[in-house]
């Protein structure tokens, strides 16, 4: 039937994507590629690798995810514990978050860029981190809120009856109860942060070195792929596919980890 066809189209597309990247990228994926930074002439097809981009992206994604976590987790907890009485306010915040969630990353990039100009900063790791953090905050808070929402009110009432303060309930009870879901939200945000190009395009710059300080421009994987692909030299293009493969592998690993955490038997979680 038609419907089965449409479902298969989706599955086929996914396999096509993964297979084609694998096919094109694997041949050029050498150990060199992932363990070295670009040497002279790299962009003309000579030695080196994309280690600068790999490390740069990892630094960026780790830092922004951590920063987003520090801001986002308290907000999500607050929405479900402290503010549980103010339904209208919480719904308003949820609405706001949904709106933010849809804002394209390039808008954040443009915004970040104008802030940078205003403060006279140059393209740097820090600018990239801040921009990506802003970008992933709505994703993270929304994800966490979805999980925290499902905790039954009885848990809140029992904890309150024991004389716990709202903050204690948030961090000692709710956090514990929702850990697998929260980790999933964190992983997903990390995945978005590491793969997004538009937000780092203006703000992080590009360089051949592994960054050693926050104010240096940093290479990122998505941009590495993009720039190499735009090159007229075939070897460099091949390398682009290999870089794409690296990024894809990272993302797939995150997906697998996410599934693992969702399914993992939650030792201390209460099944309702």
């Amino acid at each position: 039937m038609l419907m089965f066809l449409s479902t298969s189209i989706i599955v086929i597309s996914l396999t096509l994507i993964i297979v084609s990247i694998l096919y094109k990228g694997l041949p050029s994926l050498t150990w060199e590629m992932i363990s070295q930074t670009p040497k002279g002439g790299f962009y003309f097809g000579k030695e080196g690798g994309i280690l600068n981009a790999i490390i740069g992206s990892l630094y960026l994604a780790l830092a922004s995810t951590s920063l987003a976590l520090v801001i986002g987790l308290p907000v999500a907890l607050m929405m479900n514990v402290h503010l549980i009485k103010h339904k209208k306010l919480v719904n308003g915040i949820r609405f706001l978050l949904d709106l933010l969630w849809g804002v394209p990353s390039i808008v954040y990039g443009a915004f970040g860029f104008s802030i940078m100009i205003y403060f006279g900063l140059k393209t740097s790791l820090l600018a990239g981190i801040l921009t990506v953090t802003l970008f992933i905050i709505p994703i993270m808070v929304r994800g966490m809120d979805e999980v925290l929402k499902t905790i039954p009110r009885g848990m809140l009432e029992s904890s309150m009856s024991l004389g716990a303060t709202s903050s204690e309930i948030s961090y000692r009870v709710y956090l514990r109860q929702a850990i697998p879901g929260l980790v999933t939200a964190i992983l997903l945000s990390f995945g978005r942060g590491i793969g997004d190009a538009a937000s780092v395009l203006f703000t992080t710059g590009y360089t051949d070195h592994i960054p050693t300080a926050l104010n240096q421009p940093t290479a990122t994987l998505p941009l590495a792929i993009f720039f190499q692909l735009s090159s007229p030299i075939p070897e460099v293009q091949e390398r682009a596919y290999a870089s794409a493969l690296v990024l894809t592998i990272i993302i797939l690993a995150i997906s697998i980890l996410t599934r693992f955490f969702s399914k993992k038997y939650q030792k201390n979680r209460i099944k309702q």
């Binding site: 709106l99 792929i225 997906s255």
Partner: protein
């Protein structure tokens, strides 16, 4: 045995203070974090607006949006070309993704066996997580040659492959997981009684779906599509890589285009060297922001209205 009597009153009081201080600190940080999150969209909007203000002072918004004269060096910033390109790619992507998502969601929620759902779940999640560069690479690898070597000649046209159509197809695949998830939710929350009532009137399953369920789910479907559109409109990198980036109004599917996000992405380097260019690009970003927000607002509003009616 009341253990409280063992505890020295001072130590107890000291801990009480510490405990409340800790809670207060946590709560204060929570409020600050909340403020950051709430103020974020406001700052975004204001920041972009302030930067675009310079250009808006010299030319009217109407002129900018509806002129296709784009010659930055001469101070001409007509966005029409880019807006039309954006519209083209977005519409095409919706035309492709919409029916596919609708059919698939019906299939998955009404017909499919359990194992199909189990397989589709990770498929959708993985598809949703793939970064847009990768979609772009895939587009270049497969879609572009497909169009230039097979599809276009089949229809008697010439094309380099870098075209609106390529952009539309890539975008479609990107927004599919997004729309699909919403549609699956929408169909899942339809009450079974509705289906049963219709079936007991003698309709076939397909008729039930077409006439009853889809009608009931209609607002949800519209809002899912609306959200898909807002996503598609703002997508940058993947489209940029396959769409050609030529500043003319595309006259056909197989011609290249230049959507708004691509404009911003491609030209940020020249932003500062040409007068008013940065303002123009910020205005483009602001337009994107507003359009996406409006679509989001509309779609979310529709969803909340449905939920209220339940």
């Amino acid at each position: 045995m009341n253990y409280k009597s063992f505890q020295s009153k001072d130590v107890f009081r000291c801990f009480k203070v510490k405990r409340h201080l800790r809670s207060k600190l946590h709560t204060t940080w929570m409020v600050i974090a909340l403020m950051i999150v709430i103020l974020l969209p406001i700052f975004l909007g204001i920041g972009l607006y302030v930067k675009s203000a310079m250009l808006l002072r010299e030319q009217s918004l109407f002129e900018l949006l509806f002129s296709s004269d784009w010659r930055p060096l001469a101070g001409k910033f007509g966005f029409l070309t880019f807006i039309i390109s954006s519209l083209w790619v977005t519409v095409i992507s919706l035309l492709i993704a919409g029916p596919i998502c609708l059919l698939t969601s019906i299939h998955l929620t009404q017909y499919a066996k359990n194992w199909v759902l189990k397989v589709m779940h990770p498929v959708i999640d993985i598809l949703a997580g793939i970064p847009s560069v990768i979609f772009g690479v895939w587009g270049i690898l497969i879609i572009v040659p497909f169009i230039s070597d097979y599809l276009a000649p089949l229809l008697g046209k010439q094309s380099s492959g870098y075209s609106i159509l390529a952009g539309g197809i890539v975008l479609a695949v990107m927004i599919i997981p997004f729309i699909l998830n919403i549609l699956i939710d929408v169909f899942r929350t339809l009450p079974d009684e509705l289906k049963e009532a219709s079936l007991s009137l003698g309709t076939t399953k397909w008729q039930t779906i077409k006439l009853v369920l889809v009608r009931k789910a209609f607002p949800g479907i519209i809002s899912a599509f609306g959200l898909g559109v807002s996503r598609a409109f703002g997508e940058t990198i993947a489209v940029l890589m396959v769409v050609g980036n030529v500043t003319t109004i595309p006259k056909g599917l197989f011609q290249p285009g230049y959507p708004l996000p691509a404009l911003i992405a491609n030209n940020y380097g020249e932003m500062l060297s040409i007068p008013l260019y940065d303002s123009a690009l910020m205005l483009a970003a602001l337009v994107l922001f507003v359009v996406v927000m409006l679509f989001n607002l509309g779609s979310r509003y529709a969803i909340t209205r449905i939920e209220e009616m339940e």
